[in-house]
Every structure is written in C-alpha cells, then in structure tokens.
Subunit: 256 residues, 2 copies
C-alpha cells in the first residue's frame, strides 16, 4: 500500500452477493423472513443455493460497498476484509480494486471459502439476505494494516463485523491504533437484528471508542430499546461526537 | 437424466460472462474491436481482467442462453457443454439447472478453468466480447449424451462450438446420432467472424448434416461471400430444409 493520505479505511466482511428474483411463496417455503439479513452455515447455504433461481454475482459487503461509493465520489479509501484464494475471492479482490479502493489484506490459503450472500429480491423490491460468512470469520487483529489506519482520517467499521468472533478484537485494536494516531473511529449499526445480537458490545464500544456513529431509525431505537425516535436522540446525544441518523422518507438527523 | 421427451438438446460452450461498462477510449487502449467476439488466451484474459472495472458475473454461452430461453417459454431442454470443477463451473451448473434445463455433462477435474467471457459495454449499448474458452475446449464426442440426443426433437448447436478443436468431431457425432434416431439437426452461425474462421466446415456440414439453420444477415452473407441478401437467399435455398434468417429492424425470413 502506498503512503498517500487516506480519507477512510473501511473494515468489514468481504462478501460476494448472489442475487436472484423470488416470489413470496419461496420465502415462506424456505422459512425466510423478508427484508432481514440472516447468518447461515455452509449446509444451509448449499440447500438455499440449490433451491434458488439463476443468480447474478456481484461483489458486496456493507463497508466494502461504502468504500466503493467513497471512491466513486473521488475519496481516497482502503478496505480491510478477508477472502480465500478461490475464484470468488479473486472476483472480490478484482472488483474492489477496480473500484479504486486499496485492498491488501492477506488472503486466506485454507479454511472456508470466500463469503457469499444469497439475496432474494421479491416483486415488492424488498431484499432478503442470507449470509454465509466463510473466510470472513478468519479476519483478526493480525490482518489490520496499522500504517493505513494511522494515516486515514477515519476508520469505518460495519456492525456486521461483530458476527465473526475474531473481528470484535480486531475492531478494538483498530480503534486503538486510530486514536493513538489522533484519527477518528466510525461505526455503522448495519441492521436492527445485528443490534439485537450485539447490543451490549455496541453500547460499550460506542461509549469508549466510536466518534462517528451511523444508524437508521430502526437501528438506533433497537440500540437504546426505545419505541420513540426522540428518546433515541436524547440517548445518543453525548454518547459519541457525531451521530448521523437516517429516517427514510423523513430525511436524516445529524447530531454534532 | 430422466427419460422424459425433450424438445431440444443444445450443445455449446459453457461460459460465465463477466460484464462491465467501458468507454470508447478503453476499447482503443486495449485494442478491442467494438461489437465483435474475440477468442483470447489465459494471459490476455488476466491482462484484460486486471484492466477492467468492477464486474458482474452471469452465466452465458450462446446455446446455453438459448436453452434457458426455451425453458422460460415452457420447452423441455437439455444442455451439453464443459465446465471445470471450480467455483465458476459450479455457478454455471447451478444457473442452467435453475433455469429448468437438464445439464449432466461430466465436469472436467483438471486442465484449464471454466470458460469466461469478458464483456465491455460501451455507452452506445454495444457489447465487445473477449472469450477465454478454458475448460470448454475439453468438450469431445465422449461427452455426448446419446440417449438425450436420441430422444430430442432437435439437436441444436452453436457455430462458436467450432472454435475449440475437439468440438467439431463432437458436432459430427451428435448429428449422426440425431439423424440415426430420425431427429433434426440445427445450427446457428453465431457471428460473422466465426463464419470467416470456419466457412468451409460450415458449408460442408450444412450440406450434409444440418436440417435447420439460423443466421442473421451478416452471417449468411459471410457464409456465401455475397454482398447481397437476396443472393444469399438463393444460395441457402435447397442447402438445408429450413433456414431462419434474422435482419434486425427489417424483420426475418424463414425459408422452408
């Protein structure tokens, strides 16, 4: 990686999406909760893939997509995430670099294959995601590019990163490296169910390590277990330096 | 494969397409002739892939796409083509079966990887294709499912199948099996450049083995080396039982 200044380093699950169209009956038959992201194991991934229609493969992953978006707007970004040395890993690696994002995380040479997310798009344009984390669970503190984190204005992490067990330690280490270098640390909550899975960790980390928090309305309400958006606003104020909260057609609120 | 009656067995190159957008300057820099299909080797495939933008992977191949179209219209079809036992091969295998097409060709367990076609789409909506045939070159007569060919009303082959060297013998064998069973044999010319590469073979095969010929105007003119569509019509009449010729916005002509 060069030593040019970086706007953002993103850390997240490196995933190839497999998209197909499905009807409501398919979701019912296969016990899929519409609009959610569910973690699945290898067997379930094979079973769902066998049942799904012809697919379209495209590199994805929450933070990785954000970094590609940053690069498309002219920002200078790098991504840290784990793929295997298989064809899907090669596709992910190619795509994110081709989008203009530096990506130098060591590739796994053994263990589970590159992560994939089986996505069913229903006629109402909702997407139902089923993620097999595969090689992404191998991401650990040893994969952090300390030099890149040290020279990036912001280190940005996705909440989904809490699902693979080693990545939490990597997040904490990355936050320390960033703060020691006088940089900012940012987190997106990713998904209300992700918040349910990791609420205590998230609250502790936001209080101690996160400068900039991204969430949508459902996620921020889930974090503080409140029904009301205004209550959530009161809770988050003072909990971190900046909170950027999106509300769909109601616009967004930035607290700073 | 079951013993249900088949409308069509398609034989062709089993290919995964990798699509991206590119501007005219990209085509010039990389010496790509707009709108054509060029065969490339593994080194050129790696070089072009490294230069291309983020891609979108989708199973393709001329005859394979036709079989998926047949299935979508309610037809009963099978496909014969060669992939390797790699991830792209698994994607191709899944997609064509998920489209409702039987696909039982033995998978290569060694040799080159599954074929891919790097496709550059320019702002004028033209596509420029670069095909690395990979495992598709391994298709041979031993891969023909004689029972399927024997019970399919039509055996349909793509002209692109002439590019891998062993496939020509497979075509001839397939035509014999089909005719011995009292079935029809069909060929699409695929591409004017493909016709240039294989004109003599095509003329011989159409005279001796092809009952139903598909071509567009450029392809049929290239086949008979005439500038005029009417001249081509006179040539093809009597050369095979049915000729279905497409002419873009001018409609199509079926000679029977």
């Amino acid at each position: 990686m060069s030593d040019s200044p970086l706007d953002v380093v993103g850390i997240g699950n490196a995933i190839v999406d497999v998209l197909t169209q499905a009807d409501e009956a398919f979701l019912v038959t296969h016990d899929l909760a519409k609009g959610t992201m569910t973690l699945i194991d290898g067997n379930r991934a094979e079973e769902l893939y066998a049942a799904m229609g012809p697919g379209l493969e495209v590199s994805g992953g929450s933070a990785a997509n954000t970094m590609a978006g940053l690069a498309s707007l002219g920002g200078n970004g790098a991504f840290i995430g784990k793929v295997r040395n298989d064809q899907l890993g090669g596709i992910f690696q190619h795509d994110i670099r081709a989008a203009g994002v530096a990506f130098e995380t060591p590739v796994a040479t053994g263990g589970p294959p590159t992560a994939r997310c089986l996505i069913f798009v229903t006629p109402d344009a909702q997407r139902t995601m089923n993620t097999f984390l595969g090689a992404a669970v191998e991401l650990g503190s040893e994969d952090l590019d300390e030099a890149a984190i040290g020279r990036a204005k912001v280190t940005y992490m996705e909440g989904y990163l809490w699902d693979p067990p080693n990545a939490k330690a990597a997040f904490q280490a990355a936050a320390r490296i960033a703060h020691d270098a006088g940089r900012k640390v940012s987190l997106t909550l990713s998904d209300p169910f992700c918040v349910e899975r990791h609420r205590d960790s998230f609250l502790e980390l936001i209080g101690g390590h996160v400068d900039i928090l991204f969430a949508n309305e459902a996620e921020i309400r889930a974090l503080y277990q409140v029904d009301d958006f205004d209550r959530a606003l009161q809770e988050v104020r003072g909990h971190c330096e900046i909170a950027a909260l999106t509300r769909g057609e109601k616009g967004s609120v930035v607290l700073a």
